[in-house]
């Protein structure tokens, strides 16, 4: 018991942690396969990261340093809430700096900085089943995974090409793990998909409401689905980050006024702040609203 809260360390009771830990071990042994687990009710609502929170609560120890991001930012409401939850129930150190973190829980992004082998990335997953919107029935999708029959997915992607001239999936873009299972990487923009391939960090995926855990071990092949004549590509942005001048990173579009004024800034706020601390200057740095540019005195 943690004296401060009256709850167990990291909230979950030991029996629940053991159950989740066993599921994680199987998930690692069968990369990309969705292990069913007896997801518990958590003190935050389903769809708000209960899967990621249960995974983090089951792996985290007193020596870990936790970073939580949502949309790439440490300061979004849900990230703040989850970070506080662990600071309170586990008493662990928290950080906003990617390179200082040993456990990073994320919703919708992979940090821009290359992750290292001492790190674990925990994804919050709303719909773990990549085939769900093509086939609503669990009985059916389970069979398709058992047979490694992913024809349905290819047909869907190809229909996109026929209709739009593009694959119209821009996030939660399906990927094949270690040559076998196709997985939903959670709603990260497909821009982030290549970062999963041969990543040095262990990647764990938790879906609380849907009661599934899956994993990509470190240094594992993750191939985004595509076609020979339509290879997988990621989007590029026309201009660099307006604050730190970074290129080749994912940018948020910030609307500045009602006359079409807008700026593009790094989605990964820590990455952007580090670059600015290193002296990089974007073309609108002086003009950006404080809420976007951040406060100088971040503790």
């Amino acid at each position: 018991m943690s004296a401060a809260t009256g709850y167990s360390f990291a909230y979950l009771d030991e029996q629940t942690k053991r159950m989740i830990r066993r599921a994680i071990l199987k998930a690692i042994a069968v990369p990309g396969y969705q292990v069913p687990f007896a997801s518990r009710e958590m003190p935050m609502p389903y769809g708000w990261g209960t899967g990621g929170v249960q995974v983090t609560a089951s792996i985290i120890g007193p020596d870990d340093v936790l970073k939580v991001i949502d949309q790439g930012s440490d300061d979004t409401t849900n990230a703040v809430s989850i970070r506080k939850f662990f600071a309170r129930t586990a008493g662990v150190a928290t950080t906003t700096k990617t390179r200082e973190a040993t456990v990073i829980q994320t919703r919708h992004r992979i940090p821009e900085a290359k992750l290292g082998e001492h790190q674990i990335l925990v994804y919050q997953v709303p719909i773990p089943e990549p085939l769900r919107f093509l086939e609503p029935r669990e009985t059916e999708t389970r069979r398709l995974h058992a047979l490694a029959d992913y024809g349905l997915m290819h047909v869907k992607l190809y229909e996109d090409i026929a209709r739009h001239g593009h694959i119209a999936t821009t996030y939660a873009y399906p990927a094949e793990v270690a040559g076998r299972y196709v997985m939903d990487p959670s709603p990260i923009p497909k821009f982030d998909n290549p970062k999963m391939d041969m990543c040095e960090a262990l990647q764990l995926f938790g879906a609380g409401r849907e009661k599934r855990i899956y994993a990509v071990p470190p240094c594992t092949r993750v191939r985004s689905l595509d076609f020979e004549d339509h290879p997988f590509t990621v989007q590029s942005f026309r201009e660099p980050c307006a604050l730190c001048a970074a290129t080749g990173v994912y940018l948020d579009e910030v609307v500045l006024d009602d006359r079409g004024g807008r700026m593009f800034v790094c989605s990964d706020t820590d990455f952007c702040e580090e670059r600015r601390a290193d002296g990089h200057r974007g073309h609108l740095l002086g003009e950006a609203p404080a809420a976007i540019a951040g406060e100088a005195g971040d503790a």
Binding site: S8, R18, L25, A29, V35, G61, Y181, P217
Partner: protein, 205 residues
């Protein structure tokens, strides 16, 4: 019954700090399976009844409970104090059919039972398989069985002894069943290494 229990030697203690110790042991097991064939440190302060080694005991105490049954190999099953210790500290049922076990504890790794004696999962639910935890004396990187697969950048080699002479062939057959199969965890004094089913043995390095 109570009289018998009282007459026995007192049970060896479990984890000093169950919450912290379980977490630390689990992280070692997780890292071992995520980075296969690469021995990880596993510090244990347990004094379980022989031939249960401190590392075997630590894995069982960290991960087994009444929802995750244990199976014991011959040498472990022959000493009733081992089962008493495990039952008391984990609450896990101890099964005689290895196919019914979530975790199999093996003290004599050279006499490791064939993998098909254990649960290998189904094509639909490959996770419903046994994790086999075997104690060896030597566990070091390099000069031994070589592997490729998820969790290994290029190739990794593991020197473990004693193990069955045909371990590489057994692991190759295990890999051929993928996604079904068992996951093997080897423990030695102070160390742990994982050989999950996703690994492909590739002969000598």
């Amino acid at each position: 019954m109570a009289g018998n229990a009282l007459a026995r030697a007192p049970l060896a203690a479990g984890f000093a700090d169950p919450v912290r110790d379980s977490q630390a042991v689990f992280r070692a097991v997780m890292t071992a399976l995520a980075r296969p064939a690469l021995p990880q440190p596993l510090a244990v302060a347990l004094g379980p009844p022989a031939p249960l080694t401190p590392e075997l005991a630590a894995v069982a105490l960290a991960l087994a409970d009444h929802e995750a049954p244990l199976w014991l190999d011959g040498p472990l099953a022959s000493v009733s104090a081992v089962a008493d210790f495990l039952r008391f500290h984990t609450g896990a049922p101890i099964v005689t059919d290895p196919a019914g076990a979530a975790f199999a504890l093996v003290a004599d790794a050279a006499a490791l039972p064939p993998f098909d004696a254990f649960a290998q999962g189904t094509q639909d639910y490959p996770d419903r398989s046994t994790t086999v935890v075997a104690a060896v004396e030597r566990l070091a990187q390099g000069r031994g069985l070589a592997f490729e697969g998820p969790g290994i950048r290029q190739r990794a080699a593991l020197d473990a002894a004693p193990v069955p002479a045909d371990l590489a062939q057994r692991l190759a057959r295990n890999r051929a069943l993928f996604p079904r199969g068992v996951d093997l965890v080897l423990v030695a004094p102070g160390r742990i290494a994982g050989l999950p089913r996703s690994l492909t043995p590739v002969g000598e390095p």
